[in-house]
Assembly symmetry: C2
Homo-oligomer: 503 residues x 2
């Protein structure tokens, strides 16, 4: 058994080597690759991704998993070995159900669709992408139907990103959240907006980076096992547990870009750097779901990085770096500026209160499209109506409406959005649990220390990688299942202090 | 046939994708990878290299090559298709003769040997590496013996790098060269050395880079299809014909480092960027041999980049960039400084005259070791004796003697050195042929133009990639087989003007 287990691990390691190399191809493409490399790079990425898939779905993997069944049953559920077999089997059984030709066909289609979208969006031309989107929806349904027996057609599409959550669960959670959130957002946006002009002065980029990377390291991000580069779209990527990188974006005339994208990606990176080295090279060596992953970027970016306590410690430093720009801006003014809430058109620019309304709109539309209750041709109108209902404003065009996000034009419809809001909810839930265990955390944050919080998160969440599903790890770490209460309480307290919330 | 040819091309493209990704893993490791990534990176590189080898030596490739034999015979020798089949067959037949387990065993051994060398060299401790080197020699003989029927045991080891050249040919060429070179080197080094103090002032690195990359671009290096980064050991690497990168090294207090490593690597890059796009992704899309490749780095670095004509144009610019450092240094002084000839211990620091003596020593020793005429235990003494005979000085220790180069401690013994001197010889031979076709080249160089030279090299050499072997392309481009005469003439003219050469 031991030798069969090792044989399986070797195969998984080979898959991981191929996937990590594909990851590096992407990182390089986004950071340093000269433009002339693009055509070959697309081919190289496709080859490595395909080979990784072929190696993972090789019948030999299935045979080893079968033969190792009794071994798994003989081991404790919590053991690394049983967890590896359990999680690998789950992923294997999913992977073998999707024919390679289908994946290749979809990849061809979405790459074409993406090209069209890059031109259609600036031209505000939904009609151009419509046939592509219709075909994408068709592919999305076909993809779901490789997994018959689902409760909701979106379930099989949600599964690979948020295993253990079904469309019905998420819809219920989102409906409850929306009920609480809409009045809060409405109460805030009825008041005069915060003045955030202080964030839009001229801030030399090198200094922005230095400050934000200093904070990232204080959070616990290790540069011996990581690095930061500049890209148009910020992201976190991992090539091994010893090499977890972030990329960020900066603008000279917008302080918040480099700062908060760095803290956001640092949150993702802390999760990956915190995984136990014993899980290296296996399917367990990554965060367990998109929602749980996003909870860590949100926790470090928003709950910590936009808190008054944090800036109590760090604002004087920021002022000393930018004395001309911030010398006469008080801590209170700055704090209000970085927590400005407003009704805006663009999801990625949204604040932490209204962000979820953007997400829920998309999630609901995904379900409706997949169900057949929302036709692509009606999407732009539906978008405007729902937007007006939720935000009280109507997008003036499709460019900043239904065309704004790349997701539907670049991959399948379904499963791509819920993680953002699940992350907001879970960030608060994990933070509240850490606080319950370590009441000294707020005082530590005020003095620029993050050790208790980081250690609690490593012990209760990060180290386990994907050993436990999202519902399992939430229960283990916080003692309850997913709950919106800590998040609502967090928003009420924080924004109640900043604005009149009524009620 | 057409479809079989396409099937073969697809397989080769897949091999190329894997090799290119392995190349990127190495580039990243040398430039930006955080230290924590090292362990996994070694594994990832080994996996991709092994998969590329497995895919290339798959019996399906051999079967296609067999089936395509008649097709190849029906095509002109010069056609891309016939060339692809011919070169692929040659490489395939070599590759299948080396067992994968042997390659893995050697890789393990050399990686261990390399580790030991990194400690033994600074400690001047040849005894520590001796057992590793003995084993390496044993492996080198075994490797050669996978190819029975050789004339000289080094031939099969030289073949993959300098196909078409045998140990006997190279020995003969080197013996002739040595006969000419030793008296020249002796005559020069008997005279007072040139004063090169002007190169060792303080030169801010950013400005060094800017100047040298400006020159690289004027030579014809396209940054749309390339880029430059900083590494400890400079190199050129290619991920596709649209992505040919160089790395260089700089020192603030040594102007020549960044400058000449850039021009050297640019020469390699011009060769790769000049390959016809039709050959992309196939075994034809790379330089044809180590000697021919090196001829291009030497041509652009030395024949152009250390010529008086070149600096006639570029020295005033360099002076305007470094007015404090070079303002009172005349063109003549500068020209003498960058062409200083001296008896030095270290190959990589050697000038273009004495460099070859370093190389020939190593080449002769490789042959002797492989023949069994030089035992590893006698190597340090043999080194000292030969060094004294060639250079008139004795290395004071092994650190700067037999331990100085990584080659023998990192890969097999045999075939790793001859390319450097073949490159010097061929650089002059190609340059002379270009000059014969375009007498305006020297005048162009004096005015900072390199179009005629670059175009001649592209047309006669670069575009063909590996379609022709080194002997074939030398004959095609220069009208004769390899000849040391242009090189000797070049040295006599250039150094005769700088020093008394007697004779």
């Amino acid at each position: 058994m031991e030798s069969k287990f090792q044989a399986l691990k070797s195969r998984l390691m080979e898959v991981d080597d191929l996937s990590s190399a594909a990851g590096l191809l992407y990182w390089d493409q986004s950071t340093y690759m000269p433009p002339g490399g693009a055509a070959a790079r697309a081919r190289q990425t496709a080859t490595l991704t395909r080979l990784a898939h072929e190696k993972f779905t090789d019948p030999g993997v299935g045979k080893l998993l079968d033969e190792l069944g009794p071994y798994e049953e003989s081991l404790p559920y919590d053991s690394d070995e049983a967890s590896l077999l359990r999680v690998t089997r789950r992923k294997y059984e999913r992977a073998i159900k999707i024919p390679l030709e289908f994946t290749a066909e979809v990849a061809n289609h979405t790459s074409e669709s993406y090209q069209v979208w890059t031109e259609a969006r600036p031209a505000n031309d939904f009609a151009r992408v419509r046939p592509y989107l219709e075909k994408t929806l068709d592919y999305s349904r076909q993809a779901a139907n490789f997994f018959p027996g689902y409760e909701h057609i979106a379930d099989p599409l949600i599964e690979p990103r948020d295993y253990g959550m079904k469309a019905a669960d998420i819809s219920r959670i989102f409906a409850n959240l929306r009920e609480e959130l809409v009045p809060i957002a409405r109460a805030i946006t009825a008041q005069p907006p915060a003045d955030d002009a202080c964030l839009f002065k001229n801030f030399p980029e090198a200094k922005q980076f230095e400050f934000s990377m200093d904070v990232a390291q204080r959070f616990g991000y290790e540069l011996q096992r990581g690095r930061r580069d500049q890209t148009h779209h910020p992201f976190m990527t991992k090539f091994s547990l010893g090499d977890v990188r972030i990329t960020t974006r900066s603008r000279e005339n917008k302080l918040s870009d480099a700062l908060f994208t760095t803290l956001h990606e640092t949150g993702h990176a802390l999760y990956e750097q915190g995984i136990r080295m014993e899980l290296e090279g296996t399917p367990l060596a990554r965060g367990t779901s998109s929602g749980v992953h996003e909870s860590q970027s949100r926790l470090w970016e928003n709950i910590v990085g936009r808190s008054r306590g944090f800036w109590h410690c760090f604002y004087p430093r920021l002022q000393s770096i930018f004395p001309m720009q911030l010398g006469d801006v008080s801590l209170d003014e700055f704090y209000r500026a970085i927590n400005k809430v407003e009704r805006s058109l663009i999801r990625t620019d949204a604040d932490e209160v209204t962000y979820n309304l953007h997400v829920m709109l998309r999630f609901d539309f995904e379900l409706a499209m997949l169900e057949g209750n929302l036709e692509i041709c009606n999407l732009p109108d539906a978008w405007r109506e729902r937007f007006e209902a939720d935000f009280g404003i109507v997008p003036p065009d499709d460019k900043d409406g239904v065309l704004q996000d790349v997701h539907w034009y670049f991959s399948l419809i379904g499963g791509g959005f819920q993680g953002y809001t699940l992350g907001n909810i879970l960030g608060s839930q994990f933070f509240a649990a850490a606080l319950a265990a370590h009441s000294e955390i707020p005082a530590e944050i005020e003095s620029g220390e993050f050790g208790s919080l980081h250690t609690w998160l490593k012990e209760n969440l990060y180290q386990h990688g994907s050993k436990y599903t999202a519902p399992e790890i939430i229960e283990r770490a916080t003692g309850t299942s997913l709950s919106i209460e800590p998040y609502i309480a967090y928003l009420r307290t924080k924004y109640g202090e900043l604005y009149e919330l009524g009620d």
